[in-house]
Each structure stands twice: as structure tokens, then as C-alpha cells.
């Protein structure tokens, strides 16, 4: 009973660490996905007096994903109040060219400014609408969201670490006694420490497994998925391969470091 309790304290601490790490991963992933979605929705309109060389522009500005020219027909249709065909053709020639520029990814505010400035340097380009105002507020909201999640997870990590360091003293005391006795019968340090390492690796694996169950459950939860649907994105909450690998690695490293702390703090009593 007592040994289960001892296992539990490390496992819970590890799960809590893994939980905050995975939350960070999910936040990062959601933001990336959301940025992609925003990038798809976002475009810049360019008005040019001459035809633009799309491939040249894309070469000069790596951020540009696609340039499509907007057909002037719509505009003309609206003006089409009994104009002769010849006049329409004339109008078509004099009308400036409209282009829609899509970006590869969702830009930061400064990236937009820079692109705008670069494009305006072309003499043919007369006007650019970059919708920077609405972009700014969305982008700032995104940054705020990321900051809040990061602060939340990092403070959770810090609190857990503090708890672990308090527990460490208890573990140290507990393991010290056994290690001492083994030492009195001539067990070398590696043998005295072996049990500790085995225990911490077992605990680390249990903790990764618990996190795996936890996040598999969360990933399948309809409420959580609905929230992402509201925002209009699809996010992989838990990747059973890469995420599990990450969590297991972190968990094993943390518990081995803790074991090392205990071993380094091991003193033979007189």
C-alpha cells in the first residue's frame, strides 16, 4: 500500500509535467493550423497600370504564394448601361489591372508592411489594399492567445517542479536507507542505484501511459472537437506516434535526472 503511494507521487508529478507540455504542443499546433486557415482567407489586392510579371514578383518576395489577376468583366458589367461594344473594349484597355495576392503563410504585421513597401516601389503599381487594420487585430488576438497558454503551462510546470523538489527530500530519505544498508554489505554504487533507476523508469513509463490515455480521451471528446470546429480548424490533439515519443522521452529524462539527484545526495551515515 505504502509503495503504491510512493509510486503515485512521482507518477502524478510526471503526468502533470507531461500534461503542460502537451498543452503547449496543442496550442502551438492550433495556432499554426489557424494561421494556415487565416493565410488562405487573407489576400492583398494590388492595382497596377500594366500587366504584372507574376513569376518575377514571386521570386522577389518569397512570402507570396499565388498571384491571380482579377477579371475586369464584373466591374464593366456594372457600368454596362447601354455602352457600345467598341467603347467597352476601349474601357477595358484603359482600366487598371487588378490582382489578388495570396500569401504562403499568415504574415506578421511587419511582414505585411514590408511587402507593401516593396510592391509600391514598382512604378506600375499604383495602389495596394492590404486590409492591415483587420489583420492587425486578428494577429494580436492570436499572439495573446499563445501568450496566455504559454504562461498557464509554464506556471504549471514551475509549480510541479517545486512540488517535486519537496518530494525529492522524502524520496532521498527513503532510498538513502536502503542504499546505505546495501552499501554496508559491499554493494557498489551502481548496484545500490539500480533499483532507483528501475523504479524511476517504470514510473516514467506509467506516467507516459497515463498521459496517453488522458489525451486519447480528450482527442475523442466531442465537446473539445466542437470547439475547434467553431474556430473552423482541425487540430491533431494527440499524435499517438510523435507525441507519445516526445512525452515518454521527457518523462524518462525527468525521472532519471531526479534519480541522479537522489544518488548524488546519497550520504553514508555513521
Amino acid at each position: 500500500m505504502k509503495s503504491i503511494k510512493n509510486h503515485l507521487s512521482l507518477v502524478i508529478a510526471l503526468v502533470s509535467i507531461l500534461f503542460s507540455i502537451q498543452i503547449l504542443v496543442i496550442a502551438e499546433r492550433s495556432i499554426d493550423t489557424y494561421k494556415e486557415k487565416l493565410a488562405n482567407d487573407y489576400s492583398i489586392i494590388v492595382v497596377s497600370q500594366k500587366n504584372l510579371d507574376a513569376s518575377n514578383l514571386m521570386q522577389e518576395n518569397a512570402i507570396i504564394g499565388k498571384i491571380t489577376s482579377l477579371s475586369p468583366d464584373d466591374v464593366i458589367k456594372r457600368l454596362n448601361t447601354g455602352m457600345s461594344k467598341k467603347n467597352i473594349e476601349l474601357l477595358k484597355l484603359t482600366l487598371p489591372k487588378f490582382y489578388n495576392i495570396k500569401l504562403k503563410y499568415y504574415p506578421s504585421s511587419s511582414e505585411i508592411k514590408m511587402l507593401t513597401r516593396k510592391l509600391l516601389r514598382k512604378s506600375s503599381i499604383s495602389k495596394i489594399e492590404n486590409f492591415s487594420h483587420s489583420h492587425d487585430s486578428t494577429y494580436k488576438l492570436l499572439l495573446l492567445f499563445k501568450k496566455v497558454i504559454t504562461i498557464f503551462s509554464v506556471s504549471m510546470l514551475v509549480v510541479t517542479m517545486l512540488l517535486i523538489f519537496k518530494e525529492l527530500k522524502i524520496w532521498q530519505f527513503k532510498h538513502n536507507e536502503r542504499m546505505n544498508i546495501m552499501g554496508l554489505f559491499g554493494a557498489p554504487l551502481w548496484m545500490r542505484s539500480a533499483i532507483l533507476f528501475r523504479l524511476s523508469i517504470v514510473d516514467a513509463i506509467i506516467a507516459s501511459f497515463v498521459s496517453f490515455i488522458l489525451f486519447t480521451y480528450i482527442a475523442s471528446d466531442s465537446w473539445v472537437n466542437e470547439q475547434f470546429e467553431y474556430i473552423g480548424i482541425q487540430v491533431k490533439i494527440f499524435d499517438p506516434l510523435s507525441d507519445l515519443l516526445l512525452l515518454t522521452t521527457v518523462s524518462i529524462i525527468v525521472s532519471i535526472v531526479l534519480a541522479l539527484f537522489i544518488i548524488l545526495g546519497h550520504k553514508e551515515e555513521v
Binding site: 505504502k2 546505505n180 546495501m182 554496508l184 554489505f185 557498489p188 548496484m191
Partner: protein
């Protein structure tokens, strides 16, 4: 005759301002049976601690099993300890291990194979009359029973030297006799050197022994 312990000008202390054992000289023949007596606080446990290397001599030289213990290296000390069986005054059983596993410890450290280990533990459990308690944990046993576990553990790996700190302190006459028989048996059959700290030397003990008395930091041979 070979000497298993040689102390020369040996001083023992926990701190610089209080010397417990003061510049003593003695030697113990290999295969002998030795009793150590002395008042409470005279330094009997302290002397044993120095013999298994838990207390570094303050002064002089202490050679046990051919190993100089003053400033001994960890690896040499571990090597020596593998061949010593200790019964501690406070038993020092591992709480989270069963009785069986506790007795097994020196055998595991010495790398005995499984079959030998199990046979040895089995026979020792019978000798100390704890066969039926094998799967229990130390805190589920009485003080006297724990003391018998400690004795079984000290004997398990057939050490060259047994250091026993009041091994019958908590036992009734019957159990005490059991312990004396085990120690005398190891001494006679395996030529194990036995050093026992006790308050009462049993009158009917069937072994030739030496008796040292500790008083005022000195170790004096009696009789």
C-alpha cells in the same frame, strides 16, 4: 597464525574534540571467537563501525582482512564488506523488502546463482525458525524475530568475519541459545572469525573464546 584484524595506535572519534577509542593496539587471530564487553556508551558499536569501514580511523592504522581501512578507497571497502557479515544493533533491515529478500541481500551482492541463493536462504530461515514468516515485511515481525533475520543475513554468504552487535539483546533464552549455536557453528565448521558485542557472555558457551573489555577508551584483554 593469520591475523584477521590488526589495530595499531588506533584512535576513533566522531569529532575532533571527543575521542571514543584512544590509541589502542590489538590483533585478532583468524578463526577465533571474541567477546567485547563494556558499559553503555563505552564505544563497542563505534569499534565495530570502524571494523566494517563506516568510521574512518582518526589516528593509527587498522587492517581488516588485509585491507588498510584508514583512508580506504570505495572499491576496496566494497570488496572487504562482501566478505563480512554484520548484525547491527538496530538490525538495519530493508523495510520495503520481505524477510526472504533481506536475508538474500549479501548473496545477491556476491553474485551467487539463483539455486544456491534459494537453498541457502531456505536453510537459514529454518535455522532461525522463521520459515513461516519468509514473505512478511520487517515491521510485521517482533523485535526478536527481526534480530534473528539480521543474524541469518549476516551468515548467508559464509563471511570470513562476523561482527555482531548485541545479537541476543532482544531474545528469550531459547532464541538466544539458537543464535549462540549458529555463531559457534559458523566458527567451528567454517572457521569464521566471530566478534560479538554483548553485555552477558553466556556461561555455558561451548567454544574457546577471547574476551576484551572496553573502558575509558582503552581495549583490555580479560583473563
Amino acid at each position: 597464525m593469520d591475523k584477521v584484524i590488526i589495530a595499531d595506535n588506533l584512535s576513533l572519534a566522531y569529532s575532533d574534540d571527543e575521542t571514543i577509542i584512544n590509541k589502542v593496539k590489538f590483533s585478532i587471530d583468524s578463526g577465533s571467537f571474541v567477546f567485547i564487553t563494556g558499559a553503555s556508551g563505552s564505544g563497542k558499536s563505534t569499534l565495530l563501525k570502524s571494523l566494517y569501514g563506516a568510521l574512518n580511523p582518526q589516528e593509527g592504522s587498522l587492517v581488516v582482512g588485509g585491507v588498510e581501512l584508514r583512508g580506504v578507497s570505495n572499491s576496496k571497502l566494497n570488496f572487504l564488506r562482501k566478505h563480512i557479515g554484520i548484525v547491527f544493533q538496530d538490525y538495519k533491515l530493508v523495510k520495503e523488502w520481505t524477510i526472504e529478500k533481506n536475508i538474500m541481500l549479501p548473496l545477491l551482492i556476491n553474485g551467487y546463482e539463483k539455486g544456491v541463493t534459494n537453498n541457502q536462504v531456505d536453510s537459514l530461515l529454518k535455522h532461525v525458525r522463521l520459515k513461516h514468516q519468509a514473505g512478511k515485511y520487517p515491521q510485521e515481525l517482533s523485535g526478536g524475530e527481526q534480530q534473528r533475520v539480521a543474524m541469518a543475513r549476516a551468515l548467508s554468504h559464509n563471511p570470513i568475519l562476523i561482527l555482531a552487535d548485541e545479537p541476543t539483546g532482544n531474545l528469550d533464552d531459547y532464541s538466544a541459545e539458537l543464535i549462540w549455536n549458529l555463531l559457534v557453528g559458523a566458527n567451528e565448521q567454517l572457521k569464521t572469525t566471530v566478534m560479538v558485542v554483548t553485555h552477558h557472555i553466556p556461561e555455558n558457551i561451548k567454544v574457546d573464546y577471547k574476551h576484551y573489555h572496553i573502558e575509558f577508551g582503552r581495549i583490555n584483554e580479560v583473563n
